[in-house]
Subunit: 307 residues, 2 copies
């Protein structure tokens, strides 16, 4: 089944202690779509400026990504700049120029409206709700959010959104902020009580915790020898997770477990190059090999026979 | 097969934001033996003072723990006091009174000398080497260590020890200090190059990473809703790990995976009460149930068929 993503498209300037890039293709919808399109056809709703490069547009059209929903507006594309601290996890923002993203109002092409798998990447909760209004056959809808919407005046919209989505994919800091509970096991239950039956809490280099219905799933991160640039890893994880669930065609504990594997594998590869470079260069056989490798290296057995 | 542990026995005074205990039974050998004795007969080498309580001695003799190697020396038992910060991971030491532990010189009873599974808990590396000298049939020997021995004048002894053990079980900070490499995937390889073929790096609330020969195994922590007192969780993990490997009777990738499961389950229970209280109250059926639960909640599947 097809998956639809609504999010940002940006040009990122990223600095790390080991180098950087300027004006590199980025944004939540970009990372998500590049990841999910490895698994299933992907529809994209985002906005770019008239400065958006033809080669970047080709990055999508060369893949199984439908860009009918990619709107071009007079002006400059959203730009973000930041630098990672030596731990390669914390970062400082140098600038955020919303540009054409400031007035983004997601409009779904007619051909997108019956898509049943939807990811509402981190945008204003009011806009996430507007997307839902345009959907005619929503099946599995998941969202992301961030501190700005959790702590700010948009909170009532976010709370309403939670009652209307099936899943949420956020990081551990956001989960703590949203619930007032630092323990992700408890936080995931509190979030579930507010709506979504599938809660994925990403813990960066420490993996992820997923609560789906009554099932808890703990996933370590893919063991990496180095990290070049973690930008976009969270959206890439979401893209692999949602893409695999859409490919499976049903939301079950099994497809959730598979989604966690694919999300982890793609997020790890995303960290291996600046911007989307490594993710975009990844080929399907590598994904399949890494997924098998990850299942192998997380495989545990109990010494005690079954009851 | 039997497992032998050489380490400390102490009375701990532990403070947390949610309460504490004074003069509670503790020490690396204590936690290890209480854990390993759930799996296999355990021999214990440690020293206590004449103030050691009869009820604490009974904690061992009530179990499958051989205390012939528990020496009593005129004076006071080792005492440690500390307080956990609100994150319940970092802690500050209030006092360390070595007392009779200061002149500890481990002497193995004749009946211990042919034991093949040995854990050298965190004591002076010179003493760890002296234990090895007394072993006649060493099979699988693993050690722990700490920053004090890594950074201090004992380092040459520690380096020699590494060439003579089969395994090492340390936390991520110690691994980084020992290797100069913060990334545990790389650090585990560097340590392997210095001797032990089995390297387990404990990451506290984030699980563990194990490199055994050419196999990498990533293990998340057991998802806990709360932590009462993490004191001794690392030694408890080691006890479950080593105890299970001894029970399996061979060191294979399978018994290592089983050891990681049992170590994780026991360490999690250890955190549920002050001192050894929860660990000591645990019964075998609960361990078996939790091990199955942990394997279930870490079970992942690849969506891609085998090649």
């Amino acid at each position: 089944m097809t998956v639809l993503v609504v999010g940002s498209m940006a040009y990122d300037s990223i600095g790390t202690p080991h180098g950087g890039v300027d004006d590199a293709l980025g944004g939540s919808a970009t990372y998500f779509a590049l990841a999910s399109s490895h698994l299933t056809p992907t529809q994209l709703v985002a906005v770019v400026g008239t400065d958006f490069r033809a080669e970047d547009r080709a990055t999508f059209s060369d893949r199984d990504i439908d860009v009918e929903g990619l709107e071009t507006v007079e002006g400059a594309t959203f730009r973000w700049g930041g630098r990672y601290l030596p731990n390669m996890q914390d970062r400082e923002t140098d600038f955020t120029h919303l540009n054409v993203f400031e007035t983004f109002s997601p409009r779904l092409p007619q051909s997108y409206r019956e898509t049943s798998n939807v990811f509402l990447a981190n945008i204003e909760p009011r806009l996430q709700l507007e997307v839902l209004e345009q959907m005619q056959n929503p099946g599995f809808i998941a969202c992301d959010t961030m501190n700005f919407w959790i702590e700010g005046p948009a909170r009532p919209h976010l709370d309403e959104l939670l009652t209307r989505v099936n899943g949420i994919i956020i990081n551990d800091e956001e989960a703590a902020l949203l619930t007032g509970e630092a323990n992700p096991v408890l936080a995931s239950r509190i979030i579930q009580d507010r709506g979504p039956r599938t809660v994925v809490i990403k813990k960066g280099a420490h993996g992820a915790l997923c609560r789906h219905e009554d099932t808890l799933i703990a996933v370590p991160a893919f063991p990496l020898e180095s990290v070049v640039d973690p930008t976009g890893a969270g959206d890439t994880f979401a893209g692999g997770f949602m893409g695999q669930i859409a490919a499976a065609g049903e939301v079950t504990t099994d497809s959730i477990r598979q989604g966690l594997v694919v999300g982890t594998v793609l997020a790890a590869e995303c960290c291996q190059g600046f911007g989307v470079s490594s993710l975009a260069a990844m080929k399907r056989p590598t994904i399949e090999e890494r997924a098998r490798m990850f299942v192998q290296l997380t495989s545990l057995t109990s010494p005690f026979s079954e009851e």
